[in-house]
């Protein structure tokens, strides 16, 4: 249900009607994306556009005739859902409004969208980073790839060359062309080194990945989020999402690494390796799908903790843009108006039930899996 609200939120709550009829012309304001000012410039009858007071010949409104960001200072500020409201029943704020007259119900619906987007989005990104790194690290370990000193030296030179090219004072296009040429030359050189025999050492892939995880882990989460929010010029959903994802991927990577470590020693995989099935295929077909199931649980709990984290960021005022309305924002707004129970109760319930459902799903998945593993045995 939350997903439904999240997807169709703008269609349910919006101050623009689906369609309206005025002076014989029919408009579809919600779908056409035309702005209020433009409408009133074209058709003086609209001026200034106020969907509520203009008398239309016929109108079909959204079920909740408010946008989550719509401010109504004149008649709608700070209304209690149970008290009398100076509005007709059609325009009643069913869950009340905040101090600026923003409709709580519209904010709640928007909140579904934002919370799910942040929760799922950040964890998906965390998975996307965590799974490849974790699985590759576990599968290849430290000594699987062997690399000669010459190759190491050469790659160092290539890296250095790329840096040099980056600092050349040409336009970006020319830089890219030079870089491509340089890389082609480097590739040929790599082919050449195959003919020179030298001592090989194991490439410490696992150690590298684990170090990366330790590095991310050893910065306080707050530091990472603050630095990211400060560095990124635009502060929006995406920045918050990326920040949370950056904090979460090590957990994912660690889980998957531990799982694959266990499975890689199994005879099943060993025989697959003997059959010369390509590594990538083994990883993607046989290891990751099975290792993914335990990770699934931490994914689901991760989603809920991401939603909580986002609301805490809203509290500190360092998260989403101020016109954004969501559960955490409503809750943190309620801190200064504690008498207004409707600012507390509804978003609190929303968070609670979302987390509860996620938790239940998590438990179900876990049970299903345990049963499944019994059956396999």
């Amino acid at each position: 249900m939350i997903t439904f609200f999240a997807l169709f939120g703008p269609l349910i709550s919006n101050d623009k009607p689906y369609c309206c009829r005025l002076e014989g012309i029919t408009y579809y304001p919600l779908f056409s994306g035309i702005s209020e000012a433009e409408l009133s410039a074209q058709h003086p009858a609209f001026s200034p556009v106020d969907w509520r007071t203009t008398s239309f010949e016929s109108i079909w409104r959204t079920p909740i005739p408010y946008s989550h960001h719509a401010i109504d200072l004149k008649s709608g500020a700070h209304l209690s859902p149970t008290g009398t409201q100076p509005l007709s029943l059609k325009f009643r704020h069913w869950l009340g409004t905040d101090i600026l007259g923003r409709d709580v119900l519209a904010g709640m619906i928007r909140g579904c969208r934002v919370s799910l987007f942040i929760g799922l989005g950040s964890m998906l990104i965390a998975l996307l980073i965590g799974i490849p790194l974790g699985s590759v690290a576990a599968y290849y370990g430290n000594g699987y790839w062997r690399i000669s000193w010459i190759e190491l030296l050469l790659s160092g030179i290539v890296l250095f060359g790329m840096v040099c090219i980056w600092y050349l004072s040409y336009s970006t296009l020319i830089k890219i062309i030079i870089a491509t040429l340089f890389l082609i030359v480097a590739w040929f050189l790599f082919r050449l080194t195959k003919f020179i025999s030298s001592k090989k050492i194991g490439f410490p892939l696992d150690t590298l990945v684990m170090s990366l995880i330790s590095i991310v882990d050893s910065f306080p989460g707050l530091f990472i989020i603050l630095i990211l929010l400060v560095i990124f010029p635009s502060k929006g959903l995406m920045t918050v999402l990326l920040a949370i994802a950056l904090l979460r991927w090590p957990v994912m990577a660690r889980y998957i690494r531990a799982e694959i470590f266990k499975m890689k020693e199994s005879n099943y995989i060993k025989s697959a390796q003997l059959l010369n099935i390509p590594d990538f295929r083994i990883l993607s077909r046989h290891l990751v799908p099975y290792a993914f199931r335990p990770v699934m649980i931490s994914f689901i709990f991760g989603v809920s903790s991401a939603i909580l984290a986002e609301s805490s960021l809203s509290f500190l005022g360092i998260g989403l843009p101020p016109e954004e309305m969501n559960w955490g924002r409503l809750l943190s707004e309620s801190r200064n108006h504690f008498d207004d129970w409707w600012l507390v109760f509804f978003p609190g319930c929303a968070i609670f039930f979302t987390l509860l459902s996620l938790y239940t799903i998590g438990n179900m998945v876990q049970k299903r899996m345990e049963e499944g593993s019994f059956r396999e045995m």
Binding site: S35, A41, I71, K74, L100, E323
Partner: protein, 584 residues
């Protein structure tokens, strides 16, 4: 078993504690007067030259008295350390010919904490310390730059003569409105006496190695936390007793204080409470709870909704007094007139007309504010009452935008126009900090402007980035506050085109020949009447041009426990904790 034991311990301690805390409250009623003040942020230092927050100034002025300060009630400069406010004497000969001369006489009773008298040497020391090249006080240097020379009298240690060559509208402020340091405390080695003010102010002066180390040595010790947090002393009624980082600052009333011995002491020289505790509560909700539970007796800058709510609640109205004096401050939206979109007067006007002022006054301020039309505070005599504050009129905004040639040609819902050969969308960003009021106004502006077709982006920035953006002229709109002095306004710094330069105060980039000439006249007008007329015409020009959008004069919201009698004032912070008396 162990768990049970722990439970026992917890229980007994909590019981013990309840007993203890009740004891404490029992004593408090019979002990001398203690005032607990909430401040939102811990000051960095209590050295007035380096402290930046207004909370620090609030505390400092109780410890280190200014030479003269604006009286909380009369709002006139009242002599604190001097016997009277000096009068201007024209100098007709000598090197200061054409300038003016002021003679200050320090009060014969005035002494520092150790009992030594406040003298002209201390005055000179304070200014010299500002000009020590290694002391970081560039803003104060600009302030004292108007002083041409200071002469002390070898016969009368309490007399000092100050010369000002240039004409400046507020000479008395420069001469007297700053806090005085006791030279023997802050410079125990008497380093600064070895230098003359003239030498220190000469930027081309080459110091010898020895002098250089001395200057550095002084600067280092002067800026050290020792003089900022431990050894804070002055001629004020209070001394620093305890500063626990992150928790509180406690001031104690001096026992042998000179202010007690003079007849008719000015308000700011007096001090009734024996102890003032400044408690740091950053979070507003916590501070509110602290106020309600009696941990804190005074709270300023209460949010408007809390203020109204508590005032209307009989439970709290019985326990607290509520004061809402009008502050000498104006809130406005700073517009960047350098930006091509906002350089057009019509767009600025359109923005001004689209704002829902009534809604802001009613909801954001809860009615605790007053509209204003220009940079002149409404309480001033020369405030132009004929100008009516702008009211919301979306139709007018739309018309103005249309008249300015903006039209949505590419069908994205935002009007656009070709400026300097490039297609510009009518899209403006507003930069705000993380303050509730700013956020609310930005949100309202965004919603209102959308109706008129203007697209507003809200960017929340850290305070430092917010200030950086303004400094680098990299902003469209920023909500700002403008402080107003109780004396005459000098519009030169904020509105004259000459002040629109890097580091200048005309940040809006407003240029107008008419305004320039009016400002120049204000600065040189001889009679009050002429000046009033010029002030009026300046307000009219600014009203017409809307270089910035003036919003309102907020009323301060102060809640004080009924245990005290207090005085509210339109000077920040609105209350004066040294004047608190026990309620009769």
């Amino acid at each position: 078993m162990v768990r049970k034991g722990i439970q026992h311990i917890i229980l007994t301690t909590s019981l013990l504690l309840l007993a203890l805390s009740s004891c404490k409250t029992g004593i408090e009623t019979s002990t001398p007067l203690v005032v607990n003040v909430r401040i939102a942020q811990e000051p960095e230092t209590l050295n007035p030259l380096f402290s930046k927050s207004s909370f620090a100034t609030q505390i400092e002025s109780l410890i280190l008295l200014p030479v003269a300060e604006y009286d909380p009630v009369s709002l006139k400069l009242s002599p604190l350390l001097i016997t009277e406010i000096p009068t201007e004497q024209k100098v007709s000969e000598g090197k200061h010919s054409g300038g003016s001369m002021y003679t200050l006489h320090f009060r014969p009773e005035a002494t520092w904490t150790d009992g030594s008298p406040v003298t002209a040497e201390d005055y000179l020391f304070t200014i010299k310390s500002v000009y020590n090249p290694y002391v970081n006080a560039s803003s104060m240097r600009g302030f004292f730059g108007f002083i041409s020379e200071i002469q002390t009298d070898p016969k009368d240690a309490k007399k000092v003569t100050v010369f000002i060559d240039s004409t400046y509208i507020l000479p008395l402020d420069v001469i007297t409105n700053f806090q005085l340091f006791p030279a023997n405390v802050y410079d125990p080695k008497n380093i600064m006496t070895g230098f003359t003010l003239e030498e220190l102010r000469d930027p081309n002066k080459k110091w010898t190695a020895e002098q250089d180390t001395l200057l550095k040595q002084f600067a280092e010790s002067f800026e050290s936390p020792h003089f900022g947090r431990e050894m804070v002393m002055g001629a004020g009624p209070y001394e620093l007793d305890n500063w626990t980082t992150g928790e509180f600052i406690r001031l104690k009333r001096k026992s042998n204080y000179w202010g007690d011995k003079i007849s008719n002491p000015p308000l700011l020289v007096q001090g009734y409470p024996t102890e003032i505790n400044y408690r740091f509560y950053g979070d507003a909700a916590t501070a509110e709870a602290a106020l309600k539970s009696g941990v804190v007796d005074v709270m300023g800058d209460v949010s408007a909704s809390t203020f109204i709510k508590m005032k209307n609640d009989p439970q709290w109205a019985d326990k607290f007094q509520f004061a809402s004096p009008a502050l000498l401050q104006m809130n406005y939206l700073l517009l960047n007139n350098h930006k091509p979109i906002l350089a057009d007067k019509r767009i600025r006007q359109a923005l001004a007309y689209c704002l829902d002022y009534d809604g802001i006054m009613k909801n954001v301020l809860q009615g605790l504010g007053q509209r204003t039309v220009g940079p002149i505070h409404p309480t001033k005599r020369y405030y132009d009452k004929d100008l009516k504050p702008i009211q919301q009129d979306i139709n007018k905004s739309i018309a103005l935008i249309k008249a300015a040639g903006w039209k949505d040609t590419n069908g994205n819902g935002i009007p656009d126009k070709i400026i300097d050969g490039k297609l510009q969308e009518l899209s403006i960003s507003i930069k705000i900090t993380n303050q509730e009021e700013g956020k609310a106004i930005a949100n309202i502006l965004k919603e209102n402007a959308k109706k008129a077709g203007i697209d507003i982006n809200i960017e929340v920035l850290e305070t430092s980035q917010f200030n950086d953006a303004r400094r680098q002229n990299n902003f469209d709109i920023e909500p700002m506050r403008m402080r107003s002095l109780p004396t005459l306004d000098d519009p030169y710094a904020t509105w004259h085109s000459q002040s629109d330069k890097p580091g200048g105060n005309n940040v809006s980039g407003f240029h107008s020949m008419a305004a320039d000439s009016v400002i120049n006249e204000i600065r040189t007008d001889a009679s009050e009447k002429e000046r009033d007329i010029d002030y009026h015409s300046l307000q009219e020009i600014l009203y017409e041009e809307q270089p910035v959008i003036f919003l309102y004069v907020p009323l301060e919201r102060i809640i004080v426990s009924k245990k005290f009698e207090f005085l509210s004032s339109s000077r920040k912070p609105g209350y004066f904790e040294n004047l608190f008396k026990r309620a009769s």
